[in-house]
Amino acid sequence: MSYSDYESVIGLEIHAQLSTKSKLFCSCSTEFGGADNENTCPICLGMPGTLPVVNALAIEYAIKIGLSLNCTVNHNSVFARKNYFYPDLSKGYQISQFEKPIAEKGEVQFYLNGERRKVGITRAHIEEDAGKSIHQGDSTLVNYNRSSVPLVEIVSDPVMTSPQEAAEYARTVRSILLYLGVCDGNLEEGSMRCDCNVSVRKKNEAELGTRTELKNINSFRFIEKAIQYEIERQIDLLESGDKVVQETRLYDSAKNKTLSMRSKEEAHDYRYFPDPDLLAIPAPSNLVKEIESKMPELPVEKAERFCKSYQVTSDDAFVLTQSREMAQYFEDVVSRCEEPRLAVSWVIVELLGKLNDSKLEISESPVGASALGDLLSLIKDGTISGKIAKTVFSTMYEKGGSALEIVESQGLKQISDDSALIQIIEEVIETNPDQVAQYKSGKEKVFGFFVGQVMKLTKGQANPAKVNDLLKEKLS
C-alpha cells in the first residue's frame, strides 16, 4: 500500500464572527467574556412574539467580504430558517441563508511554496450563531450570550489537495478579513472557526470519495495536522477494505487524532424555508459600488503595488502583505529612509527573524517602524556599515534607544575620513613588511589580510569601500 496512490480533496467552511458591536438581530452586545446570559434579551432568547431586525452594519460587512473574495453580490438575497432542535438554539431554528446567499461564485489567490494558487469560493452567507451548552455533572446549563451573534460562513469549492494548501487558504482568508476590519480572526476565542471537509480517492478516479467533516480546530497548525491525520485514517480504512463513514469528527489536538462526534449518523432534514419575519436583503449595484469604494486595499492588490513601486520581488511582496500591520510597518520604514530595497531585507530577514525568535507579532515589535527607518538612513548615508547596523539593531531590539544614540554612545560611527584611514593603513604596511613583499611579488590574496588588519584596528568601523581604494593606492 502507498499513500501516494491516493489524492485528497479538501473543502473548507470558515465561520467568521463579524466584529459588529451588537448582535445580528437585536441590540445586545457581542462582547466576548460577559457573565453567563448577561448579553441577552427577549429577542435572542427567542421569547414568544419577538421578531428579528437585521443589523445593517453586518450586511455591509458581509458585502465587503463577498467583494474581497471576488464574489457576485446578490441583490435581494434571502434569510432562511434552518429548523432543528437543540437547547442552545433559542428559537428552534437558526436564521441563516440557503437559496440565494448574499455572495457566491468567487475566488481567493495565494502563494504556496512560491507558487500562485487559486481556490474557488462557492458561497458566503450570513447567519446567526447559537448559544453554548455547558455540561455540569448530570445537568446541562445554557449560555445564550453568543445567541444571534453575526457570522459569515465562507464555503470554498472542494478543490484543495493538501493540508498545507488548506491551511494557507485559511490564513489568506483570515488575512483578508483582518484587512477588511470585519472580523478579529481569533481562532482560540472562536471568532473564526474552520470546519474541514476531507475525502480521499485513488488517483485518476473521477468520483469523489465519502467525506468527513472535521470540527473543533482552533489553529492553522491544527488545520494541517487534523487534515493530515484524517487523510491517512481514510486511506488506511480503504486499504484495509473498510468504508469511510460520512460523519462529523472532532479534532483532539492533545492526541493529534480525529474522533467520531456521533455514534450513529443522523439524517438531518433542516426544512429550510424563507424566514417570513425578514425582508429580502437589498444590495442594489449602487450600494455595492459605494461599499466597494470604501474598501481598503487588499493583500493581493497591495502586493502588486509593492512589486511595482518598490521593485520588490513577488515572494517578498507576499510576505510583506500577509498582514495589514506588516505592510503598514514596511511602508512606514520606507517613507522614513526612502530605501525600499534595504527596507525589504531588513524587515523580512532581520526584524521577522527576531520577532519569530521572541514569538512576537509585528504590532508588538520593540523596534518601531520609524526607529528602524532611522537606522537604515544611517546605512544609507554611510554613517555605519551594514554589519555594524546589525549590532546596533540588536541593541535597539533588546534594550531600546534610537540608532543614532547607540552609534554615538558606543562610538560606532564608520570611519570614512581619508586622513584617519591613511594613517592606519600606513601603520599596517609598516608593521607587516613580509606580507607587503608577498603582495608585491604577485600574491594578490594577501590583500584580504591588509583589509582585515585595518578593520581590526578600527573595530570594524572603517568604511570598507574606502579602505579598499586607499590600500590599493598605498600598496601600488
Binding site: 427577549p42 432568547l45 427567542g46 421569547m47 414568544p48 412574539g49 419577538t50 421578531l51 428579528p52 431586525v53 437585521v54 430558517r81 429548523n83 432542535f85 437547547p87 433559542s90 428559537k91 428552534g92 431554528y93 446541562t140 445554557v142 432534514d269 426544512r271 429550510y272 424555508f273 417570513p276 419575519d277 425578514l278 425582508l279
Partner: protein, 485 residues
C-alpha cells in the same frame, strides 16, 4: 350603560370631566362579573386596571393630553404579550410564562390612554375557527350560549358584543377577527399586512398574522386603528405608511363607488340565510348610489389548500421554540433531552396544534417542499394577482364572512376539514395581505348575527370604513344588542 357609547363620544366626555375612566372600568368589571362566568371571554383580569384608570383621571383633571383612547377600557387577546401579565396563547405549554415586555401595539394603545381590562380567551395559538381549542375552555356566543362565538378571537368578540369593554384586540391569520365579529354582531377589522406591528404577539403564521380591532361600530374601529397602526422598528415587516385620522374622515356617501362581487364567493356553499341578507344589503347600497359589478377571483378554489400549507408550515417552525428549555411548561418526567422535548410538547400542545405542526413539518420536508410549500407560495402569488386585477375595476369587494351564522358548540369540532372550510371567504385577504372588515348586517331566524365582509386594496382601510359606515346606517344595526346584556 356607558360602554354602549361610541369611543370618541366617551373620550369627549372624559376630557370634559363629565365622566371618569374609573367609572368606565368599574362598569367593565361589573359586566364581566355579571356575565362572564357563562360566556368565559376573559382568561385573566388586570388587577391594576383601576389604578391605571385613576391615573388617567388625574391627568385629565389637570388638563393633560392623554391621547385618543384616554381612559377607554379595552381587552386584548391572549396572543398579545403584556408586560408582567401571564401570556399563554391559551396553551398549556406556555403556562406560567410572564413576559418581561409588552407587544408594541399594547404599548401604543396604552400610550394613547387605553386601560387594559384583561386578556381574552381564544383558540390555542389562534388555531381554530370556533374557540373550542382553547385550554381555558370554550367561549359562548352572547346571542345564544349553545353557539360558538367563532374563532380564533372568540373571547375578544364575545366581550365586545356583551359590552364588557369598549373594544378589543384580535389577531387574524385566516379570518380570526372577521369571522367571530360576524358571529357575534360586532365590527372586526383585519388591517393591511404590515399596518400594525406584530412584535410581541405570539406568532402563528408570520406572513399572514395581523392584529386588528374589534368594536361596536365602524368609527370605533377606525379610531382604534389610528392608535394601533404605525411603523415599529422592532418589526421588519411593519409598514412606514402614514397614519391618518381615518375616524374623522369617514364619508358614508357611496355614490359612484364601484363594488365588486366575486362570483366565486356566492357559490353553492353559501347558506340561503347569509345569501339572502347580503342580497338585500346589496339592494340597499345600490339605492344609496353604489354600483355593483361581478368580478372573477379565479384562483379562489385553491385558496384553502394553499393557506393551510403555508400557515401550517410557518407554524411548525414558529412553535419550535416551545421546547421546555427556557420558559413555559417543562415535562417533569424526562430523563434525557429527546424525552424532554417529546414529553413537553406531547403534554403541552393540544390536538389541533399538534395536527398543524405535523402538517407543516411534512410540507417543508425535503422531497415534499417543492410539491407543497413552494407550490402553495406560487398559488398565493396568483391569488394576489387576482385581486390586483379585480381592483382595477372596483373600489372594494363585498362578500360573505362565513357560509353560515354561528354554528353550535361541538357541531364541527370533530371534522377538521369542515372547520378549515369555514375560513374559505376570509383567508384570501390574508394570503394577499389585503385589509378586510366584517360589519354586522342582520340576524338569522334563530336570532344569530350575520355579517358582511368588505375587502379593499392595500392600505385603503378608509374605503372599508366609508362603505362600512354606510352599511351601519342602512341596517340600523347600532340599536341591536344580545338579550343577556
Amino acid at each position: 350603560m356607558k360602554l354602549d357609547t361610541p369611543i370618541h363620544q366617551l373620550v369627549k366626555k372624559l376630557k370634559l370631566g363629565e365622566l371618569k375612566s374609573l367609572d368606565l372600568v368599574r362598569e367593565s368589571f361589573n359586566q364581566i362579573e355579571r356575565l362572564d362566568s357563562d360566556i368565559q371571554s376573559f382568561v385573566l383580569l388586570n388587577e391594576k386596571a383601576e389604578e391605571a384608570a385613576d391615573k388617567v383621571d388625574q391627568k385629565l383633571a389637570q388638563g393633560e393630553d392623554v391621547g385618543i383612547l384616554a381612559g377607554i377600557p379595552i381587552a386584548v387577546k391572549e396572543m398579545f404579550c403584556v408586560k408582567n401579565m401571564e401570556t399563554t396563547a391559551c396553551s398549556k405549554i406556555l403556562k406560567g410564562f410572564v413576559p418581561p415586555y409588552s407587544a408594541s401595539v399594547v404599548n401604543k394603545v396604552e400610550a394613547e390612554g387605553a386601560i387594559i381590562i384583561g386578556k381574552t380567551n381564544c383558540d390555542e395559538f389562534a388555531m381554530g375557527s370556533s374557540n373550542e381549542s382553547s385550554t381555558n375552555g370554550i367561549v359562548r356566543n352572547p346571542w345564544d350560549f349553545k353557539h360558538v362565538p367563532g374563532g380564533s378571537s372568540g373571547g375578544s368578540a364575545a366581550c365586545v358584543a356583551s359590552r364588557m369593554v369598549s373594544a378589543s384586540f384580535g389577531t387574524d391569520t385566516g379570518g380570526s377577527i372577521r369571522q367571530p365579529a360576524s358571529f357575534t354582531g360586532v365590527v372586526g377589522l383585519k388591517p393591511t399586512y404590515g399596518r400594525v406591528s406584530r412584535y410581541g404577539i405570539v406568532a402563528f403564521a408570520s406572513s399572514l398574522d395581523q392584529a386588528g380591532p374589534m368594536t361596536l361600530n365602524v368609527r370605533d374601529a377606525a379610531l382604534m386603528l389610528e392608535a394601533m397602526a404605525g411603523h415599529d422598528p422592532l418589526d421588519s415587516t411593519c409598514s412606514k405608511q402614514p397614519i391618518e385620522e381615518w375616524s374623522n374622515q369617514i364619508q358614508e356617501d357611496v355614490h359612484g363607488k364601484v363594488i365588486g362581487l366575486p362570483k366565486e364567493y356566492f357559490d353553492d356553499g353559501l347558506s340561503d340565510e347569509v345569501r339572502g341578507s347580503l342580497e338585500s344589503l346589496i339592494g340597499s347600497l345600490e339605492r344609496g348610489g353604489a354600483k355593483f359589478i361581478e368580478i372573477d377571483l379565479p384562483h379562489t378554489k385553491y385558496a384553502v389548500s394553499s393557506y393551510y400549507i403555508i400557515c401550517t408550515s410557518e407554524a411548525s417552525s414558529n412553535l419550535a421554540r416551545y421546547d421546555g428549555v427556557r420558559f413555559g411548561k417543562r415535562s417533569s418526567s424526562s430523563t434525557d433531552l429527546d424525552a424532554l422535548y417529546m414529553n413537553t410538547r406531547s403534554e403541552g400542545f393540544g390536538d389541533e396544534v399538534k395536527r398543524r405542526i405535523m402538517l407543516g413539518t411534512f410540507a417543508l420536508s425535503s422531497g415534499y417542499y417543492d410539491a407543497y410549500y413552494l407550490k402553495a407560495c406560487r398559488v398565493r402569488r396568483l391569488i394576489q394577482e387576482d385581486f390586483i386585477g379585480a381592483f382595477k375595476k372596483c373600489d372594494a369587494i363585498l362578500g360573505p364572512v362565513a357560509t353560515t351564522p354561528a354554528f353550535q358548540i361541538g357541531e364541527r369540532i370533530d371534522d377538521p376539514v369542515k372547520m378549515y372550510l369555514n375560513d374559505i371567504y376570509t383567508l384570501s385577504a390574508n394570503l394577499a395581505g389585503l385589509p378586510g372588515i366584517s360589519v354586522p348586517v342582520s340576524v338569522s331566524d334563530k336570532g344569530l348575527p350575520i355579517g358582511v365582509q368588505l375587502i379593499a386594496p392595500h392600505f385603503m382601510e378608509q374605503t372599508l370604513f366609508d362603505i362600512g359606515k354606510k352599511i351601519e346606517v342602512l341596517t340600523g344595526w347600532n340599536q341591536r344588542c344580545p338579550d343577556v346584556v
